[in-house]
């Protein structure tokens, strides 16, 4: 580690004798050059558009005049906007809770069976996560089809009525959440399974000797050991689900009568399809608070782990 130790000294020496050749030989310069494409990519195509959307949100529809917070004022007066806020929160929170619960229990079931068969089950159960969501949502769309629904065929056979999965506002909300849970739960399962495997066996043995029940072992051993991974997965998923586009777009496209729009699909409808770019930018900005909040928590977690190491 001689090199790293002298790295700081090298910089000051180099600064005193500015020779271009030396500069390019220096470790920090080489490192910077190696990271340069990454820096350019992030600043040009992520950071710049993110700030540009802040600017866009303050313009009028034809993007010639600065209107300040006029777009926000306009949005706050629209009933559809509040409906979208409500649906986005409902969609994200419900979906994440169910994904986490299903993922947690399925991970336990996989963990409980002999390790010989675990690979096979794990492989099967992760399939929803592997299929591109736009394609698998098409399959759900066809399963929910108003006249040929395969679910309704079963329901009629067993004597239940048909369900308007995508026609009725409440059922449509249920359907988009169901599809999102279907798509995301396997990811939770895989993460929790990895976490379960990292819990030392001795803890369970000690708990079993102390006479802990299944439930007590879960509550006092498994959960505390998995706390970190549970919180980080939930935060991740909250961000991704809150910003979800594919599933809602393909399944309902926001309908019936805008009842299932989330921020992303409504922003797309306003900004790209209706051509009101500033208003669309404005709507998409409402995804920022949840993003910032999650980022704070995740950063705190990273720093904490960094200090422990």
């Amino acid at each position: 580690m001689v090199d790293a130790a002298t790295g700081a000294a090298g910089i000051s020496v180099g600064a005193r004798r500015p020779s271009l050749h030396k500069l390019f030989q220096r470790k920090s310069t080489i490192a910077f050059l190696m990271a340069l494409p990454l820096i350019l990519l992030i600043s040009l195509l992520v950071v710049y558009p993110a700030f540009y959307s802040l600017h866009l949100a303050t313009l009028n529809k034809s993007m010639e005049r600065f209107v300040g917070l006029g777009n926000f004022e306009f949005l706050f007066k629209r009933q559809t906007f509040w409906m979208v806020v409500e649906q986005s929160v409902l969609f994200a929170v419900t979906a994440v809770v169910f994904k986490a619960l299903i993922g947690f229990f399925v991970a336990h079931f996989v963990h409980a069976i002999p390790s010989k068969g675990q690979r096979k089950w794990r492989g099967m159960l992760l399939v929803p996560w592997v299929i591109p969501p736009a394609m698998s949502t098409l399959a759900w769309f066809w399963l929910f089809d108003p006249s040929y629904s395969a679910f309704n065929w079963i329901f009629t056979k067993v004597g239940l009525g048909t369900i308007p999965f995508l026609g009725d506002a409440y059922w449509a909300r249920f359907s988009v959440i169901l599809v999102n849970v279907w798509f995301g739960a396997p990811f939770f399962m895989i993460m929790y399974l990895a976490a379960l495997k990292s819990v030392p066996e001795q803890l369970y043995e000690a708990a079993a000797i102390d006479g802990a029940s299944w439930w007590q072992r879960l509550w006092y051993v498994t959960l505390p050991m998995m706390r970190n991974i549970i919180s980080i997965t939930v935060l991740f998923s909250l961000i991704v689900t809150f910003a979800n586009f594919d599933i809602v777009r393909v399944l309902t496209a926001g309908g019936p009568i805008d009842q299932t729009h989330v921020f992303a699909t409504w922003a797309f409808k306003l900004g790209i399809e209706s051509g009101d770019i500033p208003l669309g930018a404005c709507v998409s900005l409402f995804m920022l608070p949840i993003l910032g909040l999650s980022a704070v928590f995740i950063l705190r977690d990273i720093n904490k782990r960094g200090n422990e190491a």
């Binding site: 580690m1 790293a4 470790k27 920090s28 490192a31 190696m34 990271a35 990454l38 820096i39 990519l41 992030i42 195509l45 950071v47 993110a50 540009y52 866009l56 079931f109 409980a112 069976i113 690979r119 089950w121 794990r122 099967m124 992760l126 399939v127 929803p128 592997v130 591109p132 736009a134 394609m135 698998s136 098409l138 399959a139 759900w140 066809w142 399963l143 089809d145 040929y148 065929w153 079963i154 396997p186 895989i190 066996e201 369970y204 043995e205 991974i229 991740f236 961000i239 809150f242 910003a243 586009f245 393909v250 992303a264 797309f268 900004g271 770019i277 995804m287 995740i298 950063l299 990273i302």
Partner: protein, 303 residues
Amino acid sequence: MASIAATAGGPTRPVRYGSISRNRRRALIWSYVFLVIFAVFFLLPPVYMLITSLKTSQEISAATNPWWVFNPTLQNYIELLSSNQYLTFFRNSALISIIVVTVTMLISVPAAFALARMKFWGSATLATGVFLTYLIPETLLFIPLFKTFAYVYEYTGIQLINNWWVLIVIYPTLTVPFCTWIMIGYFASIPKELDEAALIDGASYIQTLTKIFIPVALPGIIAATIFAFTVSWAQFLYPLAFTTSTDQLVLPVGIITTLIKGDVYNWGQVMTGALLGAAPPLIIYAFLMDYYIAGLTAGATKG
């Protein structure tokens, strides 16, 4: 869990042994019951895709048992695979994904090496920044990007909108941050003694990267490659917003905008198209499952 209970119960009296093994059996049976239920739930849509793809339009509209194929046919597959339009979508998707994967690796592997091993001014901040960029969803960026592309056309005359190759420019924003992040994790786990030895032997930094870090971290690189490929293959929002003519579309958008025509739903073909479109990631997953899962879990468990 149950197996642990049994091993813990092992050394105690044989009287208790029986009840624990009975408990264990019961827990095992319940686990299998629930696993079967969830497997049915998770595999239902892909299986139904397959069922529908083997049917003729007549059978679909006849409203017979939708869960069974009475006259299996490969007609849908033949039609799609001989349709130029579908093959164009497939080609666009494949080209874009392969180029994006290459570009991603060329950007993120050196950057991750620099961030993990060679410190420079602001490198720690940059590493955190990379992670934060991964959290910024594409749904926040597509509107400003759309407007930026319009400006680029105004000033330079380069038409970016409605060209499939523009996706090659944007997709790395989705893949590079995560790939860099997990590569930083993999590189950081390589013992320092290895690269010190190489440096003492007179290897340059580039040689250390290509001769030591890349071979040692190969599993990580494979995982990152798979991630980059599946993300570019599945991306739906950017192509939907930026491409419109049928010869510029990629698979997910192409299937949805061209195969679903108004109210005349040709569901056999739609499902075939979707299934074939889902095939490349599924095949990669089937063969490289362990790398795929390693990449998934690396994001949150490393770093």
